[in-house]
Symmetry: C3
Subunit: 540 residues, 3 copies
């Protein structure tokens, strides 16, 4: 009894758990859905603001079906019914058929028979909600059960009995899935509401919900003559258009989408190596040694630690969570977002950032103490700012070379990038377009620094992968880029009347022993912070 009383006084964090609610239980109403659907199409950019600069190629009708898809001439010129779709495609595309055949969509009755002890029982409730939604939309008759979700429901329209194969065939978009899965659709669309306090990003960016817009309104993407290469970007940047980026067709499995590998196709590599960082972190190795065999991915995320048996987080466990709730809105704790910039570094003490950091502390505190969580997040912030400082110094050097006209071939062989892209030293476009001496070597070095190395540094820090921000990626790579740029700078300025501004002579008033950090106000404040922390530690 005494124990209980003391617990009562101890557990000031306990309140948090009461905030945990099954957001899957929240269903958008039919009215909401109509508004949501309308807004979805209104927000969708189609070909976007650079529409006059590019034309879709054939494959793009699959990445953005609403704008580009037409049934191919090879399909039967006739009316086909529910059963015919299935029967014929069982023979035509057996892989797709069998994936669907084993899926929940084809086995709704199994869901209805789940007993409450089953970890998948929540699907029974969800099915009831979906049926209620469909009744409200007039698609399902009240009192009737949905038989199955078949080819025609997604590739025609929900509940259709037959369609003209050559005229009415569609590739499903977010709205198609959202017609039944209204709650998830609403959650996912909520990402568009994200607003940055100092307009570091425009409203709703970056997010899955606006990734197609980000894609088509990227100047170099629209400018590239090589449309077949450019469409490679679409292969990830289509989450705004469709839901099968995570719930692969034709299984559409929630359990699949809860596993880290589900994120891997898009979140790996040069400038978004979250997957590698996770897998190599302690979190990831526990997932690999324990999780792959023992954790139950059929349980909803809210039950992961209890019924699911998770002993480490997954991508989904941290990024779907916000203040104890799980949702398809993944940007509620975003702070540094896609890449570290001074505009973020200088404003981390703004309440918007502070509150989000607090939300992260709470997330980590599911397993770690709040002290540990805060200490690590502070470390990651400061380490990120340290990487940014290196990149910013290099940036100035490259900009100065450009301003002084000293880049290799700058005067003789620097074609402009194709419209709508515009020339700039070290521009993003230089990763995807090159001609003559645009970019020059030193520029590409800088692009790789800010777009690859700095991002990897930051992602390595926040995903707790030590090699990802010290050695293999991150800091040591930033050091290499910096050295290469300084070397180029010294050479390019040799025998010119524009000597480098960062030589020992020019910088003689600076202390080379204790350098490496020279930058904006925010960073200076940070340094003061570190000093204070260190002093506090010394007194321990």
């Amino acid at each position: 009894m005494n124990t209980r009383i003391i617990n009562g006084s101890l557990c000031f964090f306990l309140l948090l758990s009461s905030l945990i609610a099954d957001v899957y239980a929240k269903t958008a109403t039919s009215h909401d859905f109509s508004a949501l659907k309308e807004q979805y199409y209104k927000d969708h950019p189609g070909k976007g603001k650079y529409k006059d600069h590019w034309e879709p190629i054939e494959i793009q009708k699959y990445w953005n079906p609403v704008d580009f898809y037409q049934p191919p001439p090879s399909v039967p010129q006739m009316e086909v019914n529910r059963e015919q779709c299935v029967e014929c495609h069982q023979a035509l595309t057996p892989g797709a058929y069998h994936a669907w055949r084993k899926s929940t969509h084809a086995n709704l009755d199994k869901i209805r028979k789940l007993n409450p002890a089953n970890v998948r029982h929540y699907k029974k409730e969800k099915l009831a909600e979906i049926e209620a939604n469909l009744v409200e939309l007039g698609i399902l008759k009240k009192g009737k059960e949905l038989e199955d979700v078949s080819c025609i429901d997604c590739h025609g329209s929900v509940g259709a009995q037959s369609i003209r194969h050559d005229k009415e065939l569609v590739m499903p978009d977010r709205v198609a899935c959202g017609t039944c899965h209204q709650g998830e659709f609403a959650e996912a669309e909520a990402e568009k509401q994200q607003e940055w306090p100092q307009q570091q990003w425009s409203k709703g960016h970056p997010s899955h919900a606006m990734d197609w817009k980000a894609n088509v309104e990227n100047a170099v993407w629209a400018a590239m003559a090589e449309r077949e290469v450019a469409q490679g970007c679409d292969m990830c940047h289509y989450q705004q258009n469709k839901c099968d980026g995570c719930h692969t067709r034709h299984t559409f499995s929630a359990a699949e989408a809860r596993q880290p590998e589900a994120c891997a196709t898009c979140h790996n590599g040069a400038d978004h190596n979250e997957y590698e960082n996770f897998m190599l972190s302690k979190h990831g190795t526990v997932y690999q040694t324990q999780g792959k065999k023992r954790w139950n991915f059929e349980v909803p995320l809210k039950d992961a630690l209890t019924k699911g048996g998770y002993t480490a987080p997954t991508c989904q466990y941290c990024h779907f969570e916000f203040e104890g709730e799980f949702s398809h809105n993944l940007v509620r704790k975003v702070r540094w977002a896609f890449n570290p910039t001074p505009a973020i570094a200088d404003n981390l003490d703004h309440p918007w950032f502070e509150e989000r950091k607090e939300a992260w502390v709470n997330s980590c505190a599911a397993c770690h103490s709040a002290s540990f969580s805060k200490a690590y997040l502070d470390t990651a912030d400061k380490g990120t700012i340290q990487g940014l400082a290196v990149e910013q110094e290099a940036k100035k050097v490259v900009q100065a070379l450009y301003d002084d006209g000293l880049l290799v071939g700058q005067a003789t062989n620097r074609p402009a990038p194709p419209a709508p892209e515009k020339d700039a030293p070290g521009g993003f476009f230089q990763l995807f377009w090159a001609k003559g001496n645009n970019p020059s070597r030193v520029e590409r070095l800088h692009v790789d620094m800010w777009e690859h190395d700095l991002i990897k540094h930051y992602k390595g820090l926040f995903h707790v992968n030590p090699g990802g921000f010290t050695y293999t990626e991150g800091w040591s790579e930033l050091m290499r880029g910096y050295s290469e740029i300084m070397d180029e700078n010294t050479r390019l300025r040799e025998n010119t009347d524009k000597p480098a501004k960062n030589t020992a002579a020019a910088l003689d008033s600076e202390n080379f022993v204790d350098n490496g950090i020279r930058y904006s106000l925010g960073a200076v404040l940070m340094v003061v912070g570190i000093t204070l922390i260190r002093r506090r530690k010394t007194n321990h």
Copy 2:
């Protein structure tokens, strides 16, 4: 009934399925086997055409046992029988013993007891065939059952009761495995029949069946003084010699060899990153999230989608398949093969290439629509050609520097590579040999472009890994290589009487805005194709 009639008219692809036959049921006859065996040894190059330039080191007797293996002096100088092999090696090499002990080879009776409902039942039929083969070869008495496949059968000869350990011990080659597994041996050897319509590759290349020949007849491999490094190539290039590259000794599991990781040791990395591309593609992430737990790799590939439960393809599912049949001949759908070259790019409209592309469309169509499949394959072809164009432009720049004698150290410090290798700018040998200023920096940049970046670009495209051909590997890396080479070109020509031919001045008649594509006839035709497609799309 109506349904059935309509299906009949709809399912024009259905015919395809009737083509699916179990090639495992086809057994080479004893006569075929003798001929095959004879041909196998006749085709085998031994030390190859550069035989005078290199001597095998000790370890190579394991990579090519037929030519180099002799029992080591440490083995017992005596006759040993079947049981002795097993008993002694149970103590000597317990790992090998236990792997075998659990294998099918040691448990033939379990195979005989499989009932038809078991997915492994096909092994019972296979065992019967093998026994029939052995009877025909006079190794097994008619009516007798094979007891087991034991040490002595593979390391002596099939059915041997005893061998002289110090004189008759062998390391098994393809023929040793093929003596029992005649059908698979015949399939695998069939790769040698591949002929390229415009001699892009010599007959039978590239293939597993001739990979040892490719290895030893590669000039730099034979030329390298560092034999211990060179033999590293053998560690993959031995499939022509042995079967345990895929069916690891001493389990020799078909189920193991059906999993993507079985291909990983050889198909990863610098110039053959198929494994990474697969694993990061949607195909690979489905394999990782669903397949590793739920798919049954004991089922033969032909039953993968049905009994095996595959919901995505594996390496094996696509590359063993040809027109609905599965075989150990993996080159039947090869088109771009090892690396993209103009000789392939310019001939894609030749029926040989067209038919193979059609075969690929059919493979993809197991799960995807034919329209999708064709659209994607067209995209991959065109994207590959776009990458090739960048590399070819860079190649000309490097060649011109060489022709003009402007490479760093070209006149003062350029030793020739050792025989039988010959000097050339940007040659393959420069990946494995370097001395003084051979290669110069700009050459190595070009080798890396054609041998790493372009290949990765192409492999990324065809394995549907977006980051593999836009960003992390492929296109963006080609852009970097191109920029570096252009930068070098401008510098190396500064203050010489040989100005660059691709400066803005020299190229003033070209439109820099819409450039990036300048190449061979094939590519021009392709551009026309794109234009036509775009026009068609615009009318939608």
Copy 3:
């Protein structure tokens, strides 16, 4: 009978198996433990010899708790008992709670009920030993059973009934774990006894047992202003401090720690890519295709091949083993250790190295023949020396540029690194610190050669990953680095009065065809060895 007699004469290796003993059965006595504990703290460097150059930041109290941890002010200012810890943390940190709840620590009774047939039965014996240890230490009353291992046992002291949360809370160190797990603690600490015959490394280095000392006594680590980046090194270099690097809290699973991924967080990447090499080797692909599903990681390593069903080795199987015994002392077979150097290459014929190589032959011979094992290990040694030769030649070129004052910016813009680091061309510090033209480009190229490429080359060879030492990493990367350095050398010496010493002219007495190997006595002896082997092979 005859069989048995022959076996008797054949199995001269059999003796080896009798050496296999369960080291887990060996328990340090209470007296040993006290001495061990005392010695542990005596050996521990705390802040190390550069203590005046750095101050710990907040997060470091978790990487080295004994020196830096203090309970945070936010914890309850009160006495808490065993039950309260658990009850409150079930709510506060449910992830940590549930991990522990399912662990052996929370389920000792289940261990006691294991019957001898269970592969985990060895844990029952271990529990009895632990209880005996605790009785001897006066922590457990004789005849009493340990109820569980709860929060308070590790975060207070073993057997404590209550602690002052704000004063007595600790983060456990090696001694805390070692109090119960005395045998494992003793094994792990034994790494400190390693002495190198020619002082290639100082006593006890490199090892897990002294990795914190290696960390804090690394000059650039102490010198870096960016403490948040530097602490990233601590995130692996803390094994000297704690045991949860392998046995992740709060499961502390032996089965987890036996899986290769458990090593991945630290043993991946730039200069220790053992994990990648293993996973891509045949060993690793067998683990991935067969092991992840079928091997039983609950069995102790000594039973791995039999009861565990391993058909290939894991990291742990080879590195914990020495002469048939398994122990937490992982350095008993170390030869090349962290990186190849002439001081090792030149002494491989010393008995210390020869005996260790023999121990490796025995390890490999668990599955492979001794002839194969020896042939491969010889190959790996020679291949490593070949890589070292390339790096050493490049090193001389960079050193000469430095000595001649020809590095870019050497006279005008070369700040010294911060104390306690000292300037040197191509120094380790240049991976982590850069300013102005320190390092210059050619230096960083060399650092990457010796610290990344050469190490990867060596690790690729010894972990049997062909692409890891021929192509993707290793040799081909060394060739690139060499070419780049030679290119720089030629350029930097152009128009100076200090021409390169390795030009064709300067080297005209050397044969460029058969070059590539010029180095120390040890290597020359090696070449003679190769020649002899080749001659022997030719006579076959």
